[in-house]
């Protein structure tokens, strides 16, 4: 394999783009969800039919386009025609599609479904999908470096290494307004700047937080599985800017396919001079390794994550010192979320100003959400910031699956809050969601209809957070358990008004006194349910006895 120099990378890209196109391209979504829905037999059937008929067709295994409810998905593009998307394809249907569409040139209407392209806009408009992070997901074969290069892959790295200064990259990030996509929304440029300035010349680390723990969210898994090189490119650029020679992917062990694809992509990048010694012939040395999580939600917190990489129990520690000063092995370290890193290449290539023009206020760019629960078309969407919750659930996702009215939505998973239907016109920004007592979070978005009960749902989240509390600090360890017991009393209709007051008191203690974000945000689902759906709580109370 050749080790690329900047000019060779360009020449290779030009060669790939000049290659004659096949008469037909058949794409099969083969992420974890596609596989689970039965995409493997579909793939096998297509291969067999194409081979049998000796057709000039390219069969591509892609990542997830986000339309999870319609898996297995097959996309067919014939010469000169727009891509046609087929959904809920069985092996039998796949054979029919090859026969009629590829061979006969007739679209098989019975299996045709809307494609992501139909729902996206060319320009970023609130209320429509616009893909930056997911631009390659479901489009390219994630296991092919060539396909990534053909789609401007590693061009940003080339640009950075062959002409920009680290300060210029940081300035672009500042202009872009990109903020951490893991949930907290810390300005990314600031993190990069602080880590760069910290202890120059010493060993530093860049860490990718792929410990996606919110139950009901899988944005990061889809990006890691669907476009691994984009995250790797973000890591290399970040490493160069802060002065790190080593990067670490921390990925949940529950995501075997994401791990496999990242490991494969690392090997490809290394073999082609994009990782390792003397990257792109510029003298920059940087390498990556993968470390696995082991099922601890708290490890999404950066200091706990660092402890876990060190082979310890994943318990957080007080900050400061921040990882920028003292992180992995006490060296300056920078932890960035998967989605944040996947934005980097595009910001470098298209400019901070381009990114900063998308979105509203202090929330710039797009955000990926996994919309699930009682929604008609559940799946992964990417929308410009400022899109309203109503646009997401009604326009993009088609309303509720049951046809019943939306009762509430939940963002931010166990750390976020419920938002009632009356506030669905709230624009999705860090600030607006925060004002409602929820958070942007990492991208989980749950839709509830009238048949769901908010007391039970907030108990579900609380039970999760209590189970995941690491036990290090008392407010979280004891407070969570006591709150759960009190809610159980109310669920069993044995609680009184005094119990509601007790819950609020414990919540305040946890918010103010917990060591890390897990404890501080554990009360959010309960507090928001109390705030917006108080009657569901009070109707379960035992009437107060006369004094």
């Amino acid at each position: 394999m050749p080790k690329f120099t900047p000019s060779e990378l360009d020449a290779h890209k030009a060669k790939l783009l000049a290659a004659p196109a096949k008469k037909a391209v058949i794409k099969v979504g083969l992420n974890t969800c596609g596989d689970a829905a039965g995409a493997q037999p579909v793939m096998a059937a297509i291969k067999e039919e194409v081979q049998k008929a000796g057709l000039d067709a390219q069969i591509v295994k892609t990542g997830c386009s986000g339309m999870c409810a319609l898996e297995p998905l097959v996309e067919v593009t014939t010469a000169g025609a727009a891509p046609v998307q087929y959904g809920r394809v069985t092996a039998e249907a796949a054979r029919e599609i090859v026969e009629k569409h590829i061979k006969g040139g007739r679209v098989v209407d019975a299996y045709k479904v809307p494609s992501v392209g139909d729902m996206s806009s060319e320009k970023p408009v609130p209320g429509k999908q616009y893909r930056i992070v997911l631009r390659n997901c479901g489009v390219i074969d994630p296991e092919s470096l060539d396909e990534y290069i053909a789609r401007d892959g590693y061009q940003a790295l080339k640009q950075v290494l062959s002409g920009m200064t680290p300060e210029q990259v940081i300035a672009e990030l500042e202009t872009s307004g990109l903020r951490g996509r893991g949930g907290a929304g810390f300005p990314t440029f600031m993190k990069w700047k602080l880590t760069r300035a910290s202890r120059p010349g010493e060993q530093k680390y860049i860490i990718c937080n792929g410990d996606e723990g919110d139950p009901g969210a899988y944005m990061d898994r889809s990006v890691l599985e669907g476009d691994p090189h984009a995250v790797i490119e973000g890591m290399i650029i970040g490493g160069w800017v802060i002065g790190a020679s080593q990067g670490i992917f921390y990925i949940r062990a529950e995501y075997p396919l994401a791990i496999e694809r990242i490991e494969k992509a690392i090997k490809q990048a290394r073999a082609n001079g994009l990782l390792g010694k003397n990257i792109l012939g510029t003298g920059f040395d940087f390498d990556l390794e993968v470390r696995l999580g082991a099922g601890a939600f708290v490890c999404g917190e950066e200091t706990a994550l660092i402890a876990s990489i060190e082979g310890l129990r994943g318990t957080p520690r007080p900050r400061p010192p921040y990882p920028a000063q003292k992180g992995l092995w006490d060296q300056p370290s920078m932890v960035n979320n998967v989605e944040t890193l996947a934005n980097i290449g595009q910001i470098v290539l298209r400019g901070g100003a381009w990114f900063g023009a998308i979105g509203v206020g202090r929330s710039k760019g797009t955000k990926v959400f996994a919309v699930t629960g009682k929604v008609k078309v559940s799946g992964l969407i990417e929308i410009p910031m400022g899109t309203t919750l109503r646009q997401v659930v009604m326009d993009i996702c088609g309303g509720t699956s049951s046809g019943k009215p939306v009762k509430a939505m939940q963002t931010g998973g166990p750390s976020g809050g419920l938002i009632p239907a009356s506030l669905l016109d709230t624009p999705i920004t860090y600030e607006d969601l925060g004002k409602l007592g929820s958070i942007m979070g990492s991208g989980g978005m749950i839709v509830m209809d009238e048949s769901d009960n908010t007391v039970e749902l907030s108990r579900f989240y609380l039970d999760f957070s209590v189970d995941e509390s690491c036990g290090k600090c008392a407010p979280c360890r004891i407070g969570g358990t006591q709150m759960l017991r009190t809610i159980d009393k109310i669920v069993e209709r044995k609680g009184t008004a005094a119990d509601i007051a007790k819950i609020r008191k414990i919540a305040l203690t946890m918010q103010r006194g917990s060591l890390c974000a897990l404890g501080q945000t554990t009360p959010n689902p309960v507090l928001s349910a109390l705030r917006y759906f108080e009657s569901e709580w009070t109707e379960r109370l035992v009437p107060a006895t006369k004094k």
Binding site: T32, C33, D35, A36, A37, M67, C68, A69, E71, E212, G213, D214, P215, G216, A217, Y218, R221, A253, E254, Y255, R291, L292, G293, A294, G295, A296, F297, S308, I309, E310, G311, L312, R313, G314, W329, A370, T372, G373, K374, S378, G379, Q410, G413, G444, I446, M448, D452, L457, F460, Y461, C470
Partner: protein, 156 residues
């Protein structure tokens, strides 16, 4: 079954010994080999990595992913992510629990089935989801789950 195979352990130890902070990675390999972390294997690994057994237990008891006991021939995992929860995962657990006579987190006395609840496996579009060993069952209904599970179980 818990008898540690010295060859395997030596390989795992060799792979991770010189890598800093690699205990969790070594334990992943160990569990990958045995299906759980047997005490004697952990002790032997500790010797080779120069990590006290107490440190190993400190780690394996913290992380949900590591199992301390042999999980049985077939592992049934019911996803308890929010989407699955809202779409009936608790009823699915109840149904399986009733049929198998064990609670979530337990193994049947004949060691054929281990029933567990898992955190989100990230297939929320297919909720509710149950996995039997490697096989993923999508959009499961409580009424059918027992038959579906038996259909893909190994030699039960």
């Amino acid at each position: 079954m818990a008898a540690a195979a010295p060859g395997d352990l030596a390989l795992i130890a060799k792979r991770w010994k010189d890598k800093r902070g690699s205990l969790i990675m070594a334990l992943h390999d160990l569990q990958g080999r045995f299906g759980y972390v047997p005490r004697d294997a952990a002790q032997e690994l500790g010797k080779q990595l120069n990590v006290p057994l107490a440190r190993i237990y400190e780690v394996i008891t913290f992380y949900n992913y590591f199992k301390l006991e042999a999980p049985g021939k077939n592992i049934i995992s019911v996803c308890m992510g929010t989407a699955c929860y809202l779409k009936g995962a608790p009823e699915i657990v109840a149904k399986l629990s009733e049929k198998l006579g064990v609670k979530a987190g337990e193994t049947t006395p004949d060691k054929q089935f281990h029933l567990q609840q898992v955190r989100c496996i990230g297939c929320c579009g297919l909720a509710p989801v149950v996995t039997v060993n490697e096989k993923v069952l999508a959009k499961v209904k409580a009424a059918d789950v027992v038959d579906q599970v038996y259909a893909c179980a190994k030699g039960a």
